[in-house]
Amino acid sequence: MAEEQLHLDIVTPDSTVLSEDVEYVGVPGAVGQFGVMKNHIPFLSALAIGSLYYRKGGSNTYVFLSGGFAEVTPDSVSILAESAERAEEIDVQRAKQAKERAEERLRQQKEEVDQARAEAALKRAIQRINLKERQSGSSH
């Protein structure tokens, strides 16, 4: 039996990244990953920097998210993210460079604000790289 579907929207200030009916969504919540299927209770959560995945027709697709919220209603999930990229859009080279830059900045130990920013940048870079690796791993 086909699973019941729910509607997944991922929007960012610059575009609508995704709008599809899916079977399952795994969301990187601020206090941990959570899964959503149809008829979930209404739910509002902050997001962590990480990757979301959704299942549709038996295959998983990953999307990188950084910051924002998820609004869950019984038949839909809306993600409002600061930025969102599908796995194939991720530029690993750039992420690696960003990672190095962030690490370099963290080593220098400057102001607190810079520290926080560098840490966030590092986190984003690591998550992007991880996601890319996972996606290419799962497709083999």
Partner: protein, 298 residues
């Protein structure tokens, strides 16, 4: 009457000006299309955001978060003024500056102190000449910006607000009504008035009045508000930036269209006086010849 050559040169120069204004009109219309596209792409995000804000503000008390709280004593006002980087767009920038300074003058009269945050060169230039304090000036940003700019300015404002440096924040931007109409608009963004939030979410919040019932919040209502409210400021700023940029191009289009039309008028007037001058020259030459012939006869 001006000599033939003078008029001819004048016509040539007006023609060149016309070429320029027409080109600028076309560039502005291409840029306007792009800016409108960005507004379109931003809309789903903004609408969803207003919807969530509307849902949330219903169940939340105004003392739940510092950004919602109305301060009892309002001493310092911040005005965020968004203008364009370049001129040649009619009265667009001066309208914006006018709206902002009128508001400021009003507040100064009631004993409050007004500080300006400017985006775009044109506004900053005028505010520097005015008696008001210019706290921060972001120039050369309007030509090419993304959400990061709104984030950065939002963070700056929220910082000033939470440090009690300012007690109220207003945004002045060019609201894009249509290609022929742009309005300089003022919007209070801090402290957030809950009515404002609902008003903007408008129909959506009405429609769902029944279904919004109970949300579960994670990590907690406060945690969510901590994330949601500051970003809401940024969303509003971003919208202001996008609209101002669309308005700027629309205003420039109209201004350049008028200029092109004026050039046409000037060319036709000048052509007329050129022809008159030419005719006058011919007539006087003829008179000379006729007069000469008459003299020979006699």
């Amino acid at each position: 009457m001006a000599s033939l050559k003078e008029v001819k040169d004048k016509i040539a120069s007006v023609r060149k000006t016309k070429q320029i204004t027409r080109a600028m009109n076309m560039v502005a219309s291409a840029k306007l299309r792009k800016a409108q596209g960005r507004i379109e792409r931003f809309r789903p995000y903004a609408e969803k955001y207003y919807e969530i804000m509307g849902d949330l503000s219903q169940g939340v008390d105004s003392s739940a978060h510092p950004l919602l709280e109305q301060r009892e004593e309002i001493n310092n006002i911040a005005v965020v003024l968004v203008t364009s980087e370049r001129g040649l767009c009619g009265a667009f920038n001066s309208n914006l500056v006018q709206t902002a300074t009128n508001f400021a003058a009003n507040r100064v009269d009631s004993g409050q102190n007004v500080k300006f945050y400017c985006m775009g060169k044109k506004g900053a230039k005028d505010i520097k000449k005015s008696p008001y304090e210019l706290v921060s000036d972001h120039s050369d940003v309007m030509e090419n910006f993304d959400f990061t700019l709104a984030s950065q300015i939002g963070a700056e404002i929220i910082h000033a607000y939470t440090q009690q440096e300012v007690d109220e924040v207003h945004l002045v931007y060019g609201r894009f009504v249509s290609v022929i109409r742009q309005e300089a608009t003022r919007l209070q963004i801090l402290p957030m008035s809950q009515e404002g939030g609902e008003e903007q979410s408008g129909e959506q919040s009405g429609e769902q009045a029944g279904s919004k019932a109970e949300y579960t919040y994670e990590p907690s209502v406060e945690g969510i508000l901590d994330e949601l409210l500051p970003r809401f400021i940024k969303v509003q700023l971003y919208r202001g930036l996008l609209e101002t940029s669309a308005s700027e191009h629309a205003a420039r289009m109209t201004a350049m269209d008028n200029a092109t039309r004026n050039c046409d008028d000037m060319i036709s007037n000048l052509t007329l006086s050129y022809n008159k001058a030419r005719q006058a020259a011919i007539t006087s030459e003829l008179l000379d010849i006729v007069g000469g012939a008459e003299a020979l006869k006699g």
